[in-house]
Amino acid sequence: MNKSIVSLKEVSFQYDEQERYALNHVSFDIYEGEWLAIVGHNGSGKSTMAKLLNGLQFPQQGEITVCGMQLNEESIWDIRKKIGMVFQNPDNQFVGTTVQDDVAFGLENNGIPRDEMVQRVEDSLRKVKMDKFLYQEPHHLSGGQKQRVAIAGVLALRPSIIILDEATSMLDPRGREEVLETVRLLKAEKALTVISITHDLEEAAKADRIIVMNKGEVFREGTPEEIFSMDEQLIQLGLDIPFSVKMSKAFRQKGIDVSKHYLSEEELVTELWTSRFSI
């Protein structure tokens, strides 16, 4: 695989008021250009992880390295330029009064000259197909559109890594697909590394690699197929496996042989009607 872009070594973190560690000696690497999904139920430490990577919180123990820089008080501003984050609530991360102002916000913070700002705002809005909404106010946009604007805001800063912190969990299915499709296209085009933190396994299924978190520790890591094959354990962790995986399993129990690797709903349907004629 590619070289490591983010690496965590023995990272532990505890919130002030709590006794339990939110993260307990966590170590793993994230590789350049991959789509990594971090899944886990509420309180598994997955959102804490996102905040640590961006220096919004500092670990009590351990080391975090991002793009070759060790994360500390001095390096956080450079690291924040490398990592763009999209948060859960579309409304609560929209700073500007209009779409263009919001995209420009990050650029203003980094002291980018105005001429270049105008260029970058237009470019990044075009990339997320929101360039027709330049002067629109946020309350006239749908959740999915707002999240795409948030992605444009992140993109304008030309990051190497995008973190989606439950970015699709408040969206309707169409908005979710819109946002994920946008990220997928961008990732292919710009060789971005995507870290998606989610409890939606359908979303995680499309990742290159999944890390399952439980009680502040890495419970398991592997490809989506590997992860979904441990179905009973996942349910015990409070995670629901995708519908198509459940279906495939039920088929196998009935003696209908479907392929072992992960299939989306459409793929499963295709496999069923193309290979079942012989029966």
Binding site: W77, M85, V95, T97, A104, N109, P113, R114, E137
Partner: protein, 265 residues
Amino acid sequence: MMEKMIFGRYVPADSVIHKMDSRSKLIIIFLFVCVIFLANNAVTYALIGIYTFFMLGMSRIPIRFLYGGLKPVLWLVLFTLVLQLFFTKEGALLVSWGPVKIYEEGLKMGIFISLRFFFLILMTSLLTLTTTPIEITDGLETLLNPLKKVKFPVHEMALMMSISLRFIPTLMQETDKIMKAQIARGVEFASGPFKERIKAVIPLLIPLFVSSFKRAEELAIAMEARGYRGGEGRTKYRQLSWHLADSLQLVLLGMLTILLFLLRS
């Protein structure tokens, strides 16, 4: 509906006044408020009237919008008139009708002061009718910039203002949602005795407060993640541009001031 109450103020149109820099508009309004006190006779008031209506005409704002903004304050103007009419007891007696006595000076002062009031309201509503709130914020931020030297938090104030403006519609929508949720649970907002209605506001305000605090915290995190660290070293995306029209408007006001000085008694 509530949205209109606040944002309905701005009336988009393609006029000279709309295109003016918000800084020059703010300066003009500020100076106008001072200059208007120079007027003290019929000629000078007429001059100010001409100026005000000239500006209104240039703004191409339909009269009904102006009237809408004026209606609530018109009573105040009338009240001032009446007050002056009855309580100034100087000059020749004009009308004596039982206990009501109207003096010449009272009539004059009444008319002048309400006219002054009227012109002031017209000019300030002209500002809000032709300038978006965010433009006003930008203008204020630039104009107040020198105050940074005395540690006045100009950038922070402007940011606070623009974030408030951005969140007003969001909070309105939320209020609407909470209201419906509470109505579904049996709270009566629109009927019942006054005391009950005031009490009904509590189940509306508390959830609104709680969620606003949550929003504020999330917004702060999002801003920090996008590299916000105060006004230092920040560039600005929105740009104000001063045109010839802005300078000419200031010259016009200057001329008015000189005329007022010459013609006042």
